[in-house]
Assembly symmetry: C2
Homo-oligomer: 113 residues x 2
């Protein structure tokens, strides 16, 4: 295979990677929603350690342990960021709706006749 | 789904991610070998820009453009690192073999009789 053929293969892998990274973010957002409902903090150091350990065990190379750690620190960081941003946006939207509901209260229809 | 179920889903995604990241590294190493043979530098800014553009177009969210860029900058960086390290190791091994071959030259078997 020449350079261009290997690059086509990388592009194919990258498409799978971006889809999976987005799927992972969806899971993180869902976890964020549950955490907010039950009052848990978004940051969970023990879970993040567990995630790194899990992929380190799974790692078959050629990436080494440190590379895997650096990659998943970035992945976890971005998952946490989107989790936080999405939840904050939802809280803000809800607050705005509630405020709007107070400004324009529902009127009872006038009784006819 | 509860937090534990979402985490199981994340673990499953992470297993796919680590396998794909390693597959990507294999491609990068192969490209590195070809580049060395033809005397091209490992760092290719135009190709890296192309990779980021490719995944940005592919991105369906919820990750935003900046998150995708940060993630793939890390992925590209680790691919380039493993590419460089592997190629350097191979050059070193070859040099060591050549040096050893010089120290202990092959002897012709003595003719009998």
């Amino acid at each position: 295979m020449d350079i261009d053929e290997w690059r086509i293969e990388i592009d194919r892998i990258d498409e799978l990677l971006i889809d999976l990274l987005n799927q992972r973010s969806v899971c993180a957002i869902e976890i964020g929603r549950i955490k907010r409902q039950v009052g848990l903090p978004i940051y969970s150091p023990s879970r993040e350690k567990e995630v790194i350990e899990h992929v380190t065990i799974r790692n078959g190379g050629p990436l080494d342990k440190d590379a895997v750690r650096r990659l998943f620190e970035r992945i976890i960081d971005e998952s946490r960021r989107i989790e936080r941003v999405t939840i904050e946006k939802e809280i803000e939207q809800r607050a705005r709706k509630q405020a709007a509901a107070k400004v324009v209260p529902k009127r009872k229809p006038k009784a006819r006749g």
